[in-house]
Symmetry: C2
Subunit: 397 residues, 2 copies
């Protein structure tokens, strides 16, 4: 090989490295990694959110089947984060040629991150950590809410008692006389573990007077161009389940009303900041708008395979939401066989898409993506499947 | 008052005190207070056992109703222990005139001692301690088995979420940021607390390979006259429920078979030691012998107000029991509206009587009493009601 060829390779490599260093410095200069209550958009790029719903990590850990599902779920998340393509040329260039960034700005873990009622160890956070690893390893910040399976106590399989003993578990009780605690990892412990060990986590343990609900908090997406004007507010609510009833309480509804009126008083005017809401279990309002058979307009989606499994009671949150024109959409998981969005008053009620291989149902896995454009302002959404395909695009604002 | 009257009073008082001292020394000389795996009969007296079933302490602690029920349950136990009269003259004399002893030799707490799913504090043992207090305060030894409510996690009342908050609980979370643990007190913790703090408790944490079942153990009643010959064996089994399925497992059945053949190999002959069995939830065999409407011979009892709520599965224990002629009877609680005994093969299947004011049902409260006579050997049983009345006497051997 002639010397000139070495030069060509070297200079090309240097160019790549220089571009990478340049881009990484741009990424680092943004404060999207700050574990605070806000996240910034990137200049000139849409703000993109991936919803990971119902991952159900930790199922049947005593068989090959269980851990295999978790590996598959990691593949789904990785595929979604790696195949979402950028909206503008400069990012497309960095993405395609330099692999120096990911195009998803933010991930929402929409509950049932783990199937704690299947986890026969004391600390379910070990499985929770696995579930957030694809997002963390890509340097993408995230927030999470609780589902009904996250803090549930272990449910002993009946068949173990018909066998000659409980041979599947290696547990201190059998050796040291101390008991295994199989009583579930509390919401507060799960959240504390996530927050303490992850600078990229923007999750919060909400106000103590909303307890036993924990994942109640609000984040603001700040515009890169107008650093003091929120582009959108993201509200997270704990819809219960597991160790307590599946409800959004009166206290939570009151809290939402108070906090939203405080930070976003212009709700009733056109210049109010748009608001998006995330929780796990669909409210009863979802039953009212659910398509009967086929999904038809104005609803948008691809699967309508089961009945809405709604919260046990409605205690005021929906009445408050429909009265706020700034609220554009609610996003829930829980039903693995539903992925539609339907309008309800001025807002949209949307299901995410079953992302995990854990949990019931064999419908193909995917992730609902949200894309927020600043000028002109728009919120759109689609579903990105594990195989890279896209469907069910809908404009939510 | 003349001096002679003082003398009369003094000498009478002295006589009483002397008798009391004499009796207490007799009582103390027996080792019925030893926390071991045996208990001795009193010379010349029948061995009497009171079954306290379904006390359900700790219900609705946030209302007046709950604590009131627990006071009522203590009254039932006190009444039963104070009104059971002795079988022979000398004890009757001590009992009636000197109040120096109680005529019940032993108490069995037959599960559902507490309603843990109603207890919004971390340590259900505080309620357990209240439930055993009438027995402990009278110096009577006891043993306990677990029911399905004893280790259950707290169930949050739905109505609390419709209110403006959870004002009923004073909890560290509201002050210090630490979470209240409402995940139930484990069987092992409950049992450890009972055993560690009560010299009168003969309860045991059973073999670790029977876990998660805990209350699996055997006690022997030793004859005062023949100190090395057991008069009867008492077997206690954990019938599950609460944090795991309502079953007696294959492992427990195997353990019973092995241990009973080891300590009582003569089972198939007339000189085998009689055996009595105690657990909480009726096995499916109870459904087979249950009276259809009115209780008629060969069954004996006074209330037949509901269907047998049996264990979820039968994994071998009943087959083993019916093959052992030494097994005379099984005693269970769980169904508050049933108090009958019915024959099943060579043995009797008996319900206790709902003792507690906690738990469902308003049938009058009482306690099944067992009386074991040594010569000639007999096991009889009756139900002693809270008001002192007695009914449903039956000979079980």
């Amino acid at each position: 090989m002639p010397t000139s060829s070495y030069f060509t390779i070297l200079s090309n490599s240097c160019l790549v490295l220089l571009f990478q260093a340049f881009f990484i410095s741009i990424a680092a200069s943004s404060d999207r990694h700050t574990p605070e209550n806000h996240i910034r958009t990137r200049a000139g790029a849409p703000f993109k959110v991936a919803l990971f719903a119902d991952l159900h990590f930790g199922e049947n850990a005593w068989t090959d089947w269980g851990p295999k599902q978790d590996v598959n779920s990691i593949k789904v998340m990785s595929s979604v984060l790696d195949t979402e393509t950028p909206g503008d040329f400069i990012y497309l260039f960095f993405y395609l040629f330099l692999k120096a960034t990911y195009l998803t700005d933010f991930v929402v873990y929409l509950g049932d991150v783990v199937t704690a009622n299947n986890i026969p160890i004391a600390n379910a956070s070990l499985y929770w950590d696995q579930a957030i690893s694809p997002t963390r390893s890509r340097g993408i910040p995230w927030a999470s809410v609780f589902g009904n399976h996250d803090d549930a106590p272990f449910e002993w399989p009946m068949e173990w008692f018909a066998a000659s003993g409980i041979p599947q578990l290696v547990c201190p009780v059998l050796n040291s006389g101390e008991e295994c605690s199989f009583r579930g990892t509390s919401r507060l412990e799960l959240m504390k573990n996530e927050m303490d060990n992850n600078v990229l986590s923007l999750s919060k343990s909400g106000p103590q007077d909303l307890w036993p609900g924990i994942s109640n908090y609000v984040l603001q997406v700040l515009s890169k161009e107008k650093p003091h004007t929120p582009l959108v507010y993201l509200y997270f609510l704990d819809s219960g389940g597991g160790t307590y009833p599946e409800v959004i309480s009166t206290a939570q509804a009151d809290w939402f009303k108070r906090i939203s009126e405080e930070i976003n008083p212009d709700s009733t005017y056109k210049n109010g900041v748009p608001e998006l809401i995330f929780w796990h279990i669909p409210s009863k309002a979802y039953k009212k708008v659910a398509p009967k058979f086929r999904i038809h307009k104005p609803c948008v989606g691809s699967i309508n395979k089961e009945k809405v499994a709604a919260q046990e009671a409605e205690m005021g949150i929906m009445k408050i939401l429909v009265k706020r024109p700034s609220v554009k959409a609610v996003f829930v998981g829980h039903n693995h066989g539903l992925d539609w969005c339907c309008p309800y008053g001025q807002l949209w009620l949307c299901f995410a898409r079953h992302t995990g291989y854990g949990g019931y149902g064999n419908w193909a896995r995917g992730s609902r993506i949200l894309e927020i454009n600043e000028r002109p302002f728009s919120i759109s959404s689609w579903i990105r499947m594990e195989d890279g395909s896209v469907h069910s695009e809908v404009i939510l604002s």
